[in-house]
């Protein structure tokens, strides 16, 4: 049973339901692993041993009593620390919220607990989800389990590292410009971003409201599909969530997609270095052997996606974060004497440098005299990007790209903010168009670090994306590799 951490979430659940292992035993196993490895990895900001064990105990009793349990029964799951668990602190990895107890559960929290999963802790992230490496956390450092000197990617780095290191089989992250997919790629696991509006944002601390989606991080596509079955539901408390029935993603991933046409935007990928290009090509070859046709598609407009994203996301964020002012909640500056000082000093002390930069940038692009040139322009280019994708999906079923131009970089290697922004070049356009996309492990570079293949679907094509990724994964099996450090 010491290898339970090697099992997928579904396998763990099935063993629990069969009675081969107790929920308490499952939780204890993972708590021990967290204790053993997380001091070096730093994935968790907070672990909930009492809460998790108490829930596990109750589950064991209920199973014994013959009760029918939920789809996620017995599965420990970690939440990125910008997703509310009522009564627990949501820090968003910011000094501002180190004392903020979430007064309500996120919708995903309610849905997940209703299916009897066990929330085992909250994970580290870039502060307020602003970042691509988790280095912007104001609270702690997270290291990549494949190479502790490297970042796990971001902003859902904690969740990705936790799953990669088998500290828990499932985790939730949030993805605004690639924040689930990039860490999945850097950590060699599966990360899925649903179609915008598929998963409720109620209870997710907002960063880029028109871009944010909560998504699963897992070691297998089936696990991701299972979690999507639970959280992919219309929410009346989120006006942007679309009203369509839940989909049986887990069933559907076994529908082998026949005659798949996969588009690759070669022109857009022309700057890819030889090694990632070769590994990406290998992945495409695997897809060909699985019956897919690879075609060239034109998505050159995506070259502008970073500019568009950083105008729109920061504009939204500048207003979403305005509420953090030291008045109603959060840390109020102790040196503030006047009202004006409460605002200025609380924000000065509470926000890290990247957050400040983005708030100021967002304020700039919305300010009088600049709004037309920046914000409105970006909104128009966004329309063009959506049209471009729509056209592309008349030529193919899915689009494939690498998730990242390279493997996980060293902590501290990228100091220039703009350079950091350019990391997201392949992932960011997807959020602008609201499309579903997945990162699935496609191999290892010579430096031993993983790379991810990105499959992108049309709006509401979540099932197809998961199915195609599942097909690929069964063949390539890179997701089964475990970092040496935590074996």
């Amino acid at each position: 049973m010491s290898e339970i951490y090697n099992l997928s979430a579904i396998e763990i659940r099935d063993r629990f339901l069969k009675g081969s292992i107790s929920a308490v035993s499952i939780v204890e196993t993972f708590l021990k692993r967290i204790e053993k490895y997380d001091s070096k990895i730093g994935a968790f900001l907070k672990v909930f041993p009492e809460r998790a064990l108490s829930q596990a105990k109750k589950l064991d009793e209920r199973l014994k009593g013959g009760e029918k349990l939920g789809k996620l029964a017995g599965i420990p799951i970690a939440f990125k620390d910008n997703i509310h668990v009522k009564g627990e602190i949501s820090t968003c990895a910011s000094k501002f919220l180190t004392n903020y107890k979430a007064p309500f559960d996120a919708t995903v929290t309610e849905l997940i607990e209703a299916e009897d999963a066990i929330i085992i802790g909250k994970t580290n992230m870039d502060e307020f989800a602003m970042g691509s490496s988790t280095e912007n956390s104001a609270l702690q450092k997270t290291c990549n389990p494949w190479d502790l000197s490297c970042t796990p990617g971001g902003s859902s780095g904690g969740s990705a590292a936790a799953v990669a290191a088998r500290l828990c089989p499932l985790a939730l992250g949030s993805d605004t410009g690639g924040s689930v997919r990039l860490p999945a790629s850097f950590c060699g696991i599966v990360g899925f971003k649903p179609t915008y509006g598929r998963v409720s944002r109620f209870g997710l601390v907002a960063y880029g409201s028109s871009l944010d989606q909560i998504g699963p991080l897992a070691t297998t596509t089936a696990d991701a599909a299972l979690l999507m079955e639970v959280i992919g539901k219309h929410c009346p408390r989120d006006s942007t969530s679309f009203d369509e029935p839940q989909e049986a993603y887990l069933d559907k991933i076994n529908n082998r997609p026949e005659g798949l046409t996969i588009g690759v935007p070669w022109q857009f990928l022309e700057e890819l270095a030889p090694e990632p290009k070769q590994i990406f090509n290998q992945a495409l070859e695997t897809l060909r052997t699985l019956g897919a046709k690879i075609v060239d598609v034109d998505l050159h407009i995506l070259k502008h996606s970073i500019a568009v994203y950083y105008i729109l996301a920061t504009a939204e964020a500048s207003t979403n974060l305005a509420r953090f002012d030291g008045i109603r909640y959060g840390v109020r500056s102790s040196k503030a004497k006047t009202l004006d000082e409460v605002y200025r000093y609380s924000k000065e002390e509470g926000f890290g440098p990247e957050v400040k930069r983005r708030i100021l940038l967002g304020t700039y692009v919305l300010s009088a005299g600049y709004k037309d040139a920046y914000y409105k322009k970006a909104q128009k280019v966004r329309s063009l990007m959506i049209k471009s994708y729509e056209k592309t999906f008349t030529q193919c079923d899915l689009v494939a790209t690498p998730v990242s131009p390279f493997t996980a970089f060293e902590i501290g290697a990228i100091k220039d903010p703009l350079q950091m922004y350019l990391e997201d070049i392949y992932t960011i356009g997807i959020n602008l168009a609201g499309l579903p996309a997945i990162s699935v492990p496609e191999g290892f570079a010579k430096d031993g670090k993983p790379l991810g293949l990105q499959l992108i679907g049309p709006q509401k094509g979540d099932a197809l994306v998961l199915a195609a990724a599942h097909l690929y994964e069964k063949q390539s099996k890179y997701n089964l590799a475990i970092p040496t450090f935590v074996k």
Binding site: P103, F104, A206, E316, T319
Partner: protein, 487 residues
């Protein structure tokens, strides 16, 4: 148009904020109630908790459209919400959700009564937005109560087509009446469910220029508003006239004033050297409102009788003057009260006089209207019945009215029954003595009347009534006088 001088005319615009009387708030399910303990009518949405999201209240949309139909405005088939950013403690998110670019209502006309005539005032737009909380000021700190935060408001913006304090009052009264009749708002200025801000500027008569305007806030009654407007017009004219060599924009600079009730003058709150940059942009958390022709037609069809229609009906059916009819209909409760009394005793003009003149005068100091004061429509009808049937004289009726003011719940018929003094004297003998006295003292009047002047007769009647201290029966007096003079 009011003549301020041969040279100047005033240009006034009104912004009226009315709280809609929905059960729940605009974007939050907290109760929309006034007067409860602070911070007890709140949810995560209206206190700006991170992770909370707005969901639109359909009843607020309905009431806004009803108002739009009532003023024959253009109902937007497509309208959206925007974020308006500014920092203030009563704002839970430091941005208000309003409608800037695409309001739900555009244009429209409000017909009000000015000096007995109907006058049309153009409306620029009407839009939905959420209210802020309340800031309570204390010597060494301030306290914030978010009960009001999130309450639905409609903001009604007039064109600058108002030219005097009186017109402003008439317009505001007409708007208030419409809101009352469609049951959209409590329209209580004291409780803050109706707020009026005015913009005042002056210009040389006959020109089209729009000079710097002064905004005046904090007027909590229409009469104060009228006073404030008139004072401000005078002030601006004075300033322009005593600085003939300066350019206009240097004489009056845009600023915000508040009305000081004690000093009875406008006091500057803040100047507008730095116009606020609200950085409006489309609210990403809310989706557009798309209204069908059907929806709008249904609402237009099912509007109740509006104040203007009611006023015209009163003029036509009851022969009331437009001025009096407007007085009655301007408060729906009073108009309903009038019609209740009318059902009991069908003398509309007399009832109208007693409501709008006699009792209104007596009630002025109490600050209450006849209904709140407790004089029932039944009792009013009884009073009028007694007058009309000659049971009491007009003069005695005034005394009875005074008694009703002291004992509002007392039936005037009872008051009269208990007071023998109130019943007119029918004794011919008693009256004859007085008649003889009067005729002896007024030979000229007798001559005048015989010469054909009816006024002289009325004078003689009046003299007899005076001598009898109002107690003589007018009928008997009339008969006796005629007999004695004409033989």
């Amino acid at each position: 148009m009011k003549q301020y001088s041969a040279v100047w005319e005033a240009v006034i615009g009104l912004e009226i904020h009315a709280e809609l009387n929905t059960k729940s708030k605009l974007f939050s399910v907290a109760p929309n109630r006034f007067g409860d303990e602070p911070n007890t009518n709140i949810t995560e949405v209206c206190t700006g908790q991170p992770g909370a999201l707005p969901v639109l209240n359909k009843e607020a949309v309905l009431k806004a459209v009803q108002f739009g139909c009532a003023i024959n405005a253009n109902i937007s088939r497509f309208s959206t919400f925007d974020r308006k950013s500014y920092f203030y403690p009563d704002s839970p998110r430091n941005f208000q959700i309003t409608q800037y670019d695409e309001p739900i209502i555009r244009g429209g006309t409000v017909i009000a009564e000015v000096d007995g005539k109907e006058m049309g005032f153009a409306v620029n737009r009407v839009h939905l937005e959420d209210d802020a909380g309340m800031l309570k000021h204390f010597p060494t700190f301030a306290g914030v109560d978010y009960n009001r935060a999130g309450v639905p408001l409609i903001e009604i913006v007039s064109e600058p087509c108002i030219h005097s304090g009186k017109e402003a009052s008439a317009y505001a009264l007409a708007v208030k009446a419409i809101l009352q009749y469609i049951d959209a708002s409590d329209c209580n200025m004291e409780e803050g469910s109706l707020r009026v801000d005015v913009n005042v500027s002056v210009r040389p008569k006959g020109t089209n220029e729009l000079r710097s305007k002064i905004e005046i806030k904090n007027m909590n009654s229409f009469s104060f508003m009228e006073m404030a407007i008139e004072a401000e017009i005078k002030r601006q004219i004075h300033e322009y006239e005593r600085n003939p060599d300066l350019l206009p924009h240097l004489i009056i600079q845009q600023a915000t004033f508040r009305w000081d009730v004690e000093k009875k003058e406008t006091v500057m709150m803040r100047s507008k050297e730095m116009a606020a940059d609200y950085r409006y942009f489309p609210e990403p958390d809310l989706v557009p409102i798309v209204l069908s022709e059907n929806y709008i037609e249904e609402i237009a069809k099912s509007l109740p009788e509006l104040p203007l229609q009611r006023e015209r009906r009163y003029v036509k059916e009851f022969g009331l003057t437009p001025h009096n009819a407007f007085l009655l209909v301007s408060d729906k409760k009073i108009a309903d009260y009038f019609e209740e009394a009318l059902l009991l005793y069908n003398q509309p003009r007399l009832l109208c006089t007693w409501i709008t003149v006699e009792f209104a005068g007596r009630l002025k100091e109490t600050g209450k209207n006849i209904i709140d004061y407790g004089i029932s429509s039944v009792h009013l009808a009884n009073l009028v019945k007694m007058i009309d049937r000659g049971v009491i004289t007009g003069r005695i009726a005034k005394t009875v009215a005074d008694d009703m003011m002291l004992h509002p719940d007392k039936n005037p018929e009872l008051i009269v029954a208990e007071n023998p003094d109130y019943s007119p004297v029918h004794d011919e003998g008693e009256i004859e003595t007085l008649v003889d006295q009067v005729l002896a003292a007024n030979p000229q009047s007798i001559a005048d009347f015989k010469a054909g002047r009816d006024k002289a007769f009325a004078f003689l009647v009046g003299q007899v009534m005076k001598l009898s201290r109002g107690k003589a029966s007018p009928g008997v007096v009339n008969d006796l006088l005629k007999r004695k003079i004409l033989g």
